[in-house]
């Protein structure tokens, strides 16, 4: 890459972005160059973005809040400008004479700063030099770190802004519109006209429940002349159980939800799906968001008898895991990192992982903060098959099981005896791979194990405990290793055992989550450079100190063998006073309605993140969210009923020029639907969608050539046409169509999917046997409406796929296409080539004509109008 300073101007008639693409010397070069145009301009250095991060990572340690070596303090403007014991170190406008630059560039290592460390990289020194040359501007807002003013915007308390006044009051439907319109008016833009009612109903259906309206639902809306016809639809949709199915997907992306372990073996997690159903149900019931997140962080401690709250802890458990890991200490650390990073990103909207190896270079998050946050999770253990019944029900179950055990005692003992040699071999083979210190822990007496020993023990017990779904040596596995006589005997005994099957109680429903191992957590250390065994000082659980530096109140919950740590964290996160929680979540809701958030970096509300386009709107929504009892549906309703949401996707040339990216929302932005929703609406148009809700995941067919890989289509064919949210999520084999359409990889949290356009997507929609099958069924439905009238058929197909009637010219175009295609297919038919027909073709309907109809329907399902939600 070029190290030279080269500028590049990209401009179009509509869009002019000027930037210094390759201002390579500066580590923070590209964003710095943002404000400048052309190669000759000197980039403007921004203190908050460019300088403070350097001070924070390299200077504060000795010249900050804790220590002021040489009486110098660099985290406050007056003190920094005042200088140290030898006087001023920063002379604005004169970098060469500034002691700061001298000390940074000093060749004598004893004199050079930072002391006992490598010199700052040349590009950082160049930035500091440029900053001083440009006058050492230090914004008032950041003048004093101890003052609240110095904080980054998202760390400040949420305000309660009054919606601003606007000129065109008639456009405003609710306060959201005042915020949006005020900005449009001041920018000289005008809102787009309202969307057509046909477009609006399709948009709101796809957006809220992810299913298109049926022709009858469309007609009912179009014929409803009451002034609140649209509001009624919004209420119906928000009350629909399918709302939870649609919006759960967004949360599952954040939760890195999957139903397998990942890594080499990618073992199935048989009960993970209950978390998916939990999210669907919680959203559909409009569970208050504060409760929703408390359950996911500490449901086991806060509501131990509430099965939903226990399932909710799956949020923490969804980390990918490696059954084959030898170094359990390292593996435990990797899991804790995953959890810390996920909780940080999802709930605080901060990139805390940047502080794993060093203080955050941009945000006010220290490395100690990272491990303090991690310490809340220090004593967790996986619970992969927790029985989801009350204590009493469990006791009843156990009592029945005891009877069965008693009656089958001799048979089972005889079987166990046969299984014993292979079982011992399997266990030994596995245990022997661990290093001696882990083997020693596994062999030690329970009362001698330290909390950290227990951590190692529980990790290994996932594979060594007969109660675990991942137990390595269940009966069947051991029996498979038997040969000859032993095998025959075992099979005979197994037959006998089966005769007692009716005595055996049905296994209780089970779920997957986490609990604390005990009331005493192992110590947490700051890890130097993030290396798992490079221990620094011990840290205690603590919140992000820039937001709240009080020590958490941690009390082990009564009656439970648990630390209570996560309860303290959950309460802090779900507190109305937390400046991030509500802001981050209303932004996510906004993002999924409009394609982009008010903050376009939904899991980075830090300095490097994108500043909000409408900061006051964000705060108004956040305060409204808390005021409304953390009701997500309240926020949905406000957004959906706003005039902003109901705009058409059109723009005047002037608006396009002024706001090409639609950041000010003078039109409704058009967004491609997710792969999951394209599949759902295709199945629905085809009349095939199976709307059954909940339960274990299903396996639709996958393209020819990618079979195997642990993917066997569901034997019950109707199950294959369930909604996409119920499709099994295997980490190592994502459902190919979803993967092609940017489903995240489920290895880490994903707040914003990519939206790519690739030939692979075209190949899937055009050539895959599934899409052809959908087209065949859609064609069948269209023909059925009126086999004698082609115009009705075309109209029906348009209504089913695109939710609107075709124009006259469209109908004409399609008729011509059908005639042309029919001729081609006729020839194929005569030549004996296969053709694709709809199911249940009416008697007397020409097959070539029907196949032409299939082709037309196939094109409809590929069209931009179909794959874009609005």
């Amino acid at each position: 890459m070029s190290r030279s300073r080269s500028g590049l101007v990209i401009s179009t008639g509509l869009l002019a972005i000027a930037c210094c693409i390759m201002w390579g010397q500066l580590a923070f070069g590209a964003p710095t160059a943002e404000a400048q145009a052309g190669p000759s301009a000197t980039p403007r250095v921004d203190f908050e973005r460019d300088i403070q991060p350097i001070f924070r990572s390299s200077c504060y340690q000795c010249h900050g809040p804790d220590r002021q070596k040489a009486k110098l303090r660099l985290d406050s403007r007056p003190l920094a400008m005042q200088g140290g014991k030898d006087g001023k170190i920063i002379l604005p406008g004169d970098a060469d004479q500034s002691e700061l630059i001298r000390r940074l560039t000093e060749t004598d290592e004893n004199m050079r700063m930072p002391q006992d460390r490598e010199a700052l990289p040349a590009e950082q020194i160049a930035l500091i030099r440029a900053w001083i040359e440009q006058g050492a501007t230090w914004p008032d807002r950041l003048a004093n770190v101890n003052a609240k003013l110095s904080k980054h915007w998202s760390f400040m308390p949420v305000g309660h802004p009054t919606p601003p006044a606007v000129s065109d009051k008639s456009w405003v439907r609710n306060p959201i519109d005042q915020f949006v319109l005020a900005k449009l008016e001041s920018g000289g833009l005008t809102p787009a006209p309202p969307a057509s009612r046909e477009a609006l109903i399709r948009r709101v259906y796809l957006d809220v429940i992810g299913i298109q309206p049926t022709p009858a639902q469309i007609d009912a809306f179009l014929n409803d002349s009451s002034p609140n016809a649209y509001e009624k639809v919004v209420d119906e949709l928000l009350a629909s159980p399918h709302y939870g199915e649609r919006w759960a997907r967004h949360w599952l992306d954040l939760a890195r939800y999957a139903e397998s372990e990942g890594f080499k073996s990618d073992e199935t997690r048989p009960y993970a799906w209950r978390y998916r159903d939990y999210v669907i149900k919680s959203l559909s019931n409009d569970k208050p968001y504060d409760r929703f997140i408390k359950e996911q962080i500490a449901g086991d401690e806060l509501w131990p008898t509430d099965q939903d709250a226990r399932i909710a802890t799956g949020f923490i458990r969804h980390y990918p895991d490696e059954s084959n890991a030898r170094n359990l200490l390292q593996r435990r650390q990797e899991i804790l990192n995953d959890i810390t990073d996920t909780v940080g990103a999802v709930l605080t909207g901060l990139t805390v992982e940047c502080a794993r190896c060093h203080n955050h270079k941009y945000d006010d998050i220290s490395q100690a903060d990272y491990y303090k946050l991690q310490a809340f999770f220090a004593n967790i253990r996986a619970e992969d098959a927790m029985p989801l019944v009350s204590k009493q029900q469990l006791a009843e179950y156990n009592a029945k099981l005891a009877i069965w055990k008693e009656k089958t005692k001799d048979i089972r003992e005889a079987m166990a005896k046969l299984e014993d040699p292979p079982r011992k071999a399997i266990i030994k083979e596995y245990v022997d791979k661990y290093p001696p210190e882990i083997r020693a822990v596994l062999a030690s007496a329970p009362e001698r194990r330290s909390p950290m020993d227990w951590q190692m023990y529980w990790k290994a017990s996932l594979y060594l405990s007969p109660d675990s779904p991942q137990y390595l040596a269940p009966s069947s596995t051991c029996a498979a290793r038997l040969k000859g006589d032993a095998k025959t005997k075992w099979e005979e005994l197994n037959k006998q055992l089966k005769q007692y099957a009716d005595l055996k109680p049905t296994d209780p429903p089970r779920g997957m989550g986490i609990i604390d191992g005990s009331a005493t957590a192992p110590p947490t250390f700051l890890l130097r450079r993030g290396v798992y065994d490079s221990f620094g000082p011990e840290v205690q659980p603590g919140f992000l100190s820039a937001i709240d530096d009080r020590a958490p109140k941690i009390e082990p919950p009564a009656g439970l063998n648990s630390t209570g740590r996560r309860t303290a964290l959950a309460n802090w996160l779900a507190s109305p006073d937390n400046p991030l929680t509500a802001r981050v979540m209303v932004n996510r809701i906004w993002q999924h309605h409009f394609g982009e958030g008010i903050v376009r970096t939904p899991s980075d509300f830090g300095v490097q993140g994108d500043p909000p386009t409408h900061p006051k709107l964000l705060d108004w929504l956040a305060s409204e969210f808390v005021r409304g009892g953390w009701s997500m549906k309240h926020i949905h309703r406000l957004i959906l009923t706003s005039a902003t949401y109901q705009q058409a996707c059109v723009a005047t040339p002037s608006d396009l020029r002024l706001d090409p990216e639609d950041r000010m929302l003078a039109r409704y932005p058009r967004n491609r639907l997710e792969g999951e929703i394209i599949r759902d609406e295709s199945l629905e148009s085809a009349g095939l969608l199976n709307l059954k809700m909940g339960g274990p995941s299903v396996f639709p067919e996958i393209p020819a050539g990618v079979e195997g890989h642990g993917w066997k289509p569901s034997s019950d064919e109707a199950q294959r046409d369930r909604r996409s949210i119920y499709v099994f999520v295997r980490r190592n084999v994502r459902y190919p169509m979803f993967e092609t359409f940017d489903m995240p990889d489920t290895v880490q949290t994903c707040a914003r999917r990519y939206n790519t356009t690739t030939p692979a997507q075209a190949l899937t929609l055009m050539n895959d046997r599934m899409t052809l099958q959908w087209a065949q069924s859609l064609a069948g439905r269209a023909i059925e409406t009126n086999p004698a009238n082609v115009e009705s058929q075309i109209d029906a197909a348009y209504r089913l796929a695109l939710c609107r009637h075709p124009s006259q010219s469209e109908t004409k175009t399609i008729e011509q296409f059908l005639n042309h295609e029919q001729e081609l297919i006729d020839q194929r038919e005569k030549a004996g080539d296969p053709i694709s027909l709809p199911p249940n073709l009416p008697a007397g309907f020409a097959p070539a004509r029907a196949a032409a109809m299939v082709d037309f329907c196939h094109v409809l399902l590929n069209s931009n109008e179909f794959v874009y939600g609005s």
Partner: protein, 470 residues
């Protein structure tokens, strides 16, 4: 797959600038510009380092070939064989807990070859004839103990899944030189690659940079061919109708939308790919001498020979990165019977790889094609179960040929028994930095803003091994 990289809308101008500034290389950037700027000429390229290599063929010996039985002879090991490892070599924690086992001699005979006099064992007699083309790096080391982590690291730089593979970084940086084929192709010869698609995944890069695993039966790419019940003229007519419908939809909407243009293009590209991809994999166009050269007439060498020939055809057509697994599904993992295992694997790969080097050279492609050979780690000097060797990530051999690598040279060394890299250790990140450098990419400058961090291919390490460059 990458044809015209199209990521619809950056989150912000800042994101656009940050990514464009640090990341997009020549072609990718020009495509981006052409998308954003009413089809500016794709000739607008940025200066990059002078690159020799245009393509990479990575010969991945999955399972871990034994360096001390192939390229790194150890006379001291022969002497110490049968004894426990002297304490001076330091304790290691191995995958199977074998480090207390006795040292095991290599049963190979060794010879110096070529003008360079580089040692090669009698397991690789054909490749040995090409040593003057090779740069043998004997001091590689990696972090992982297990296959899944180590294969993942050799591909992505990290033992944990989730980062982009080298092929993805390369196509992200350089784009494709052929719009009608995937830019990054993966070929296997046996079982599934351990860890699967994560090894050629795009990680946090957009999905179009991920590798395409070519299938062996039927068409190489999933859903490449139209259904059997749809004829070619019928398909064309459908695409024409689609084009017409999409144009009228686009006209009714916001005019300047590059995203919709990209979608129109994607169908045309897919259509062209339907003929380009089968042509690329059609080996019937190759003459008998070529087939013989690659060992395609011998059952033992046919599979890898076919893949090596395919790899040549792909790079000839502009494919940027071909990853070719030999022994996919940890075929080289000789915990027991290393004699049997490596005899088989070497036999299967020796002639095809030698054939590939010969063919690339005679076609004038070797200068612009970087060939990389290696596994995810090497094997231990101490025995496992008496006649096998355990995983060894502390020291092992890889080699490069062509593409601006230093022909006929040896870089670094391991200790006297081949356990650890001692002289000029080259971590996986260093290997990655070097490969990128040979492609004209500065591994520190190729970045992608992800979760607030400018991620780069070498994570937080990496130093170019200049000794490996011509």
């Amino acid at each position: 797959m990458l044809y015209r990289p199209h990521v619809n809308r950056f989150a912000s101008r800042r994101e656009f600038l940050a990514r464009a500034g640090g990341g997009f290389g020549a072609l990718a950037l020009s495509y981006l510009l052409s998308q954003e700027s009413a089809k500016a000429s794709p000739g607008a390229v940025l200066p990059t380092q002078v690159a020799k290599a245009k393509s990479v063929i990575w010969l991945f010996m999955e399972g871990g070939p034994s360096h001390i039985d192939l390229f790194d002879p150890k006379p001291v090991l022969q002497k110490l064989a049968g004894k426990p490892m002297p304490r001076s070599f330091g304790h290691v924690l191995t995958a199977m807990g074998t480090s207390d086992n006795t040292l095991m001699a290599s049963k190979r005979t060794w010879q110096r070859y070529g003008k360079s006099g580089i040692w090669v064992s009698n397991w690789y007699p054909n490749i040995a004839q090409h040593v003057d083309k090779l740069c043998v790096i004997r001091s590689c080391w990696a972090d992982g103990l297990n296959h899944v982590g180590s294969i993942c690291q050799m591909n992505t730089g990290s033992i944990l899944a989730g980062r982009p593979s080298m092929g993805a970084w390369t196509t992200y940086g350089l784009g494709s030189a052929n719009d009608n084929l995937p830019a990054f192709v993966v070929l296997t010869d046996a079982g599934e690659v351990t860890g699967g698609a994560k090894n050629w995944g795009a990680g946090f890069l957009p999905a179009q940079y991920q590798g395409s695993l070519f299938r062996h039966d039927g068409s190489p790419i999933t859903d490449l061919k139209p259904p059997a019940s749809v004829g070619p003229r019928q398909q064309r007519a459908k695409l024409d109708l689609l084009d017409q419908m999409n144009h009228s939809f686009d006209r009714a909407n916001v005019a300047s939308d590059s995203e919709l243009d990209a979608r129109l293009d994607s169908y045309e590209l897919a259509y062209r790919m339907q003929s380009a991809a089968p042509e690329a994999v059609d080996l019937s166009q190759e003459d008998a001498a070529t087939r013989e050269l690659y060992g395609m007439n011998d059952k033992a060498t046919e599979k890898i020979g076919t893949n090596c020939l395919l790899a040549r055809r792909l790079v000839e057509r502009g494919v940027r990165f071909v990853e070719l697994y030999c022994g996919s599904g940890v075929g080289w993992d000789a915990h027991t019977d290393i004699e049997g295992n490596h005899t088989r694997n070497c036999r299967a790969s020796d002639k095809p790889i030698a054939g590939l080097l010969t063919d690339l050279q005679q076609r004038g492609l070797l200068d612009e094609t970087l060939v990389v050979w290696g596994g995810e780690f090497g094997r231990t000097p101490f025995n496992e179960k008496g006649n096998g060797r355990d995983h060894n990530p502390w020291g092992f051999t890889m080699w490069m040929a062509g593409g601006g690598s230093r022909a006929g040279s040896v870089v670094g060394s391991t200790d006297d028994i081949g356990l650890r890299a001692v002289e000029r250790p080259c971590h996986v990140h260093d290997i990655h930095a070097t490969i990128l450098a040979l492609m004209g990419i500065d591994h520190l400058a190729l970045t992608y803003l992800h979760n607030g961090r400018r991620e780069r291919p070498t994570v937080n390490g990496g130093e170019v091994v200049t000794e490996a460059m011509a």
